[in-house]
Subunit: 150 residues, 2 copies
DNA sequence: ATTGTAATTGAGACTCATTATCAATTAAAC
DNA sequence: GTTTAATTGATAATGAGTCTCAATTACAAT
């Protein structure tokens, strides 16, 4: 796994500005977070970190995830009955999701039309929109086939 | 508060089909649910029911909310750090929400363009979409003013 | 390098929403 | 009315996430 010094810089600057420290625990969590491609939840991240031999407690994982959200390196995707799902946002353009009811898989997509629509809608309502999340639920290709077979 | 016999019929039929019973607890919870206009969470509903003098335990409230979701009379709006938020869907057309970061208030809106956009997006991805949720976060009129004053 | 000091860590206690348990109750079919 | 399986509710259990606090440590100043 290649180093990602840019992200370390972003994070350590963010911390320094607030008089906070860039510890090895935070560094390990940052690294594992940034090496992840898809969605993840704190517990899974914690287990991966332990497996990788790094030392960081569950508490630190939660605390660091919080910080990473604040400085914009990751963001919350959604809350589920099994906990909160996050994803890397650094080097990962804004997008929305389609979520398969059948298998839980997620498709990412981006739509310029949607971005413009958000602006229109906000104008109509006198609302100052900053971000949005669109989640489309349904069936992915695979699960559509499975359904036909039954 | 007027009676809403249609919803009772829907619910009791739904239950009968599944060999389940239409108890007074379920009836009380249904009624309180249907008399609500905005968003609500299970705990608030439970407290209201107790205040109204009806008898239903917290456990029954949770269990019945689950049933009401299954039969389509209410639906989950979102999960927050303070629990799950629901809203009546019976006699309440589909819509999406703008959520104020400042005060937590919610604006409901409906957009035909958005509905058509969902269809387009799904076609593009070979996804069979059934429902969606669009949540736009930002500042409502009041909170925009407050921010200016500071 | 050493020191001083405030930030951080981690183990475990705690919170709070939600679910499971199970004996007692009850709807509703006969 | 009897029967019987579904339901209820008090309470225990679960599980994600947060808090506590003594021990540790980053880091700025000397």
């Amino acid at each position: 796994m290649r180093e990602k010094p840019v992200q370390k810089q972003v994070f350590s600057r963010f911390l320094k500005e607030r008089g906070q420290r860039f510890t090895k625990e935070r560094s390990a969590i940052l690294e594992k977070t940034m090496s992840r491609n898809g969605h993840f939840d704190p517990e899974t991240l914690y287990i991966e970190i332990r497996k990788a031999g790094a030392k960081a407690s569950r508490a630190s994982v939660y605390r660091t995830i919080s910080l990473l959200c604040e400085c914009g390196l990751i963001e919350q995707v959604r809350k589920t009955e099994h906990g909160t799902v996050y994803e890397r946002s650094f080097g990962h353009e804004h997008h929305d999701h389609m979520l398969c009811i059948g298998c839980g898989s997620a498709i990412e997509f981006y739509s310029d039309k949607l971005e413009r629509l958000q602006e229109d809608l906000c104008r109509q309502q006198g609302f100052q929109g900053t971000t949005h999340t669109l989640e489309i639920r349904g069936y992915c290709r695979k699960c559509q086939k499975k359904k036909k077979q039954t």
